[in-house]
């Protein structure tokens, strides 16, 4: 999770978390009319590979000109972002302006990435001087680089837009929608769903127990950091980036600046991993797309960057429609997220019992619930709800595909907005801040020294025999 917190970040569910749950479920709720054959979100824009701009966008289902569908999508997302900001107390004009600029930049970048020179994978469809063959998902990278350029070359403008560029909001809402996508892709293939789900359990053991233990030991013994730094660093590097570092910092009652400094490092490194690791995976594992997808979920920190890395990896492999790559990366990250509350409770109990002064505030069991990311409820509601529906009433399978078609029209642009926001929040100058050298070294040694290699080995063990596209089961 990449939104950098400030020093007074709240301990309870973040505002973005609540909005993501609400928005994700609202989109799923509307899309569910697809079960009855109606598509109330059929006006939303669907991006296509293009050479002629007029053919770049078309609506999901309604008979509309492409430009109108694009305008409707931009207006809808801008309105929702503006509404959230107004509710939070921003003026209507500043909220609408910042939201509109962010949405236009994000969707514009995504659209540019669909140009045939970048995206086309087939020579027969377009006549272009060259083609990179990256599929339309390259739009995510265009959005990331736009965000990086904006955040690092025009920091003043990025600061003004930051109220609308909410990585957590975008990625968490998109993750709720991935629940629909995973269900639609695995319905009728229960065995494939079970295999992926069970392998998600391995991710929990790996992130919380192996990575955390090793990073903590390294930080305490080799780098000789105090406990106040070691625990947030171990959580930030091992589990789930910013949210884990902040939650751990709060659980052990570390000074707030510690978690903020760790978080700023996590954001920068996640972006580097996001740009490098998918290409490395494609080169290293040409025949194992699912291992690569799982690897992204285990090795790239922060939800946004991990799921984004999964999307780029899918684009590089081009496994075809119905593949489970992004769903696998997301599922692994979601499984890891699920236990942040429990882990922080364990740490809080240990710290209170052995390391905190006598008489300090007691750890409450409810802290587990308070630290549970709410958007996961939306993800599991969407996934399990559709799985139960599709399995008990097979006649709804066609309708579920219509539901997925509508939610995908929002999930992909939300990913693009998340990429833009990740870039904007990545302040590369932080790396040159005085005193950061040791923190930087801890991160470099941990991530590139053992975490990505352990993640690779474990991903291979658990995912090498799973096909990217589940085989069709004939009754």
């Amino acid at each position: 999770m990449t939104q950098l917190p400030n020093d007074s970040a709240p301990r309870r569910a973040s505002n973005d978390d609540i909005w993501a749950l609400f928005l994700g479920l609202a989109v799923v709720g509307l899309a569910l009319f697809g079960l009855a054959g109606y598509q109330p979100l059929g006006w939303a824009a669907k991006f296509e590979e293009w050479v002629v701009p007029a053919k770049a966008v078309k609506p999901v289902a309604w008979a509309l000109p492409g430009w109108l569908a694009l305008a409707a999508s931009v207006a809808a997302v801008t309105s929702i972002l503006s509404l959230r900001l107004v509710v939070l107390g921003k003026s209507v004009i500043s909220a609408a302006t910042a939201s509109a600029v962010v949405v236009i930049l994000g969707l514009g970048s995504y659209l540019l990435g669909h140009h045939a020179c970048v995206a086309a994978t087939d020579d027969s469809k377009f006549v272009v001087p060259f083609r990179l063959g990256l599929t339309g998902e390259a739009g995510y990278l265009v959005a990331l680089f736009t965000g990086l350029a904006l955040g690092n070359l025009f920091p003043g403008a990025a600061r003004r837009l930051s109220m609308a560029a909410r990585t957590e909001l975008f990625i968490k809402t998109a993750i709720v929608l991935v629940g629909v996508s995973l269900a639609a892709k695995t319905l009728g293939q229960q065995a494939a769903a079970n295999r992926v789900l069970l392998r998600g359990v391995a991710a929990i053991a790996e992130a919380y127990l192996l990575y955390w233990g090793l990073v903590y030991l390294l930080v305490r013994t080799v780098f000789r950091f105090p406990r106040e730094w070691a625990a947030p660093l171990a959580s930030g590097i091992s589990i789930c980036g910013v949210s884990a570092a902040m939650a751990t910092g709060a659980a052990i009652r570390a000074r707030s600046g510690v978690a903020v400094l760790v978080s700023s490092l996590v954001v920068v490194f996640s972006t580097i991993e996001l740009v490098v690791l998918p290409f490395f995976a494609r080169w290293l594992l040409p025949d194992n797309p699912m291992v690569a997808a799982a690897w992204m979920g285990l090795a790239v920190k922060t939800d946004g960057a991990a799921v984004a890395a999964g999307a780029v990896t899918e684009a590089l492999y081009q496994p075809g429609p119905g593949n489970l790559m992004v769903a696998t990366t997301t599922l692994i990250k979601v499984f890891i997220d699920l236990f942040i509350g429990v882990w922080c409770f364990v740490l809080a109990v240990v710290w209170q019992r052995w390391f905190r002064p006598k008489g300090s505030e007691r750890v409450r069991f409810m802290e587990i619930v308070e630290r549970m990311p709410l958007f996961l409820i939306g993800y599991f509601l969407a996934f399990l709800g559709l799985m139960v529906l599709g399995n008990t009433m097979p006649e709804t399978l066609k309708g579920i595909k219509l539901v997925e078609g509508q939610t995908e029209a929002f999930r992909k642009p939300l990913f693009a907005l998340a990429f833009l926001s990740i870039g904007m929040a990545t302040d590369l100058r932080r790396l040159a801040s005085p005193g950061m050298a040791r923190l930087l070294l801890v991160y470099l040694v941990s991530i590139f020294g053992f975490i990505i290699w352990m993640a690779l080995v474990i991903s291979w063990i658990f995912f090498h025999d799973i096909p990217a596209i589940p085989p069709v089961v004939t009754p």
Binding site: L198, L214, S433, F462
Partner: protein
């Protein structure tokens, strides 16, 4: 970077070293042992 953050980084460079407590060794040892065991069991089961 705020003054508080600069102070924290400075303290990290110059502050006293906290020796590793027995509880920390037990915590990390348990993490690594249980994590490895879980992965081996899962790898065998799947």
């Amino acid at each position: 970077m705020s003054n508080e953050q600069e102070d924290l980084l400075m303290e990290l460079e110059t502050g006293p070293v906290e020796p590793l407590a027995r509880v920390e060794i037990i915590l990390v040892g348990s993490c690594l042992a249980v994590g490895t065991l879980l992965l081996v069991v899962l790898a065998c089961l799947l």
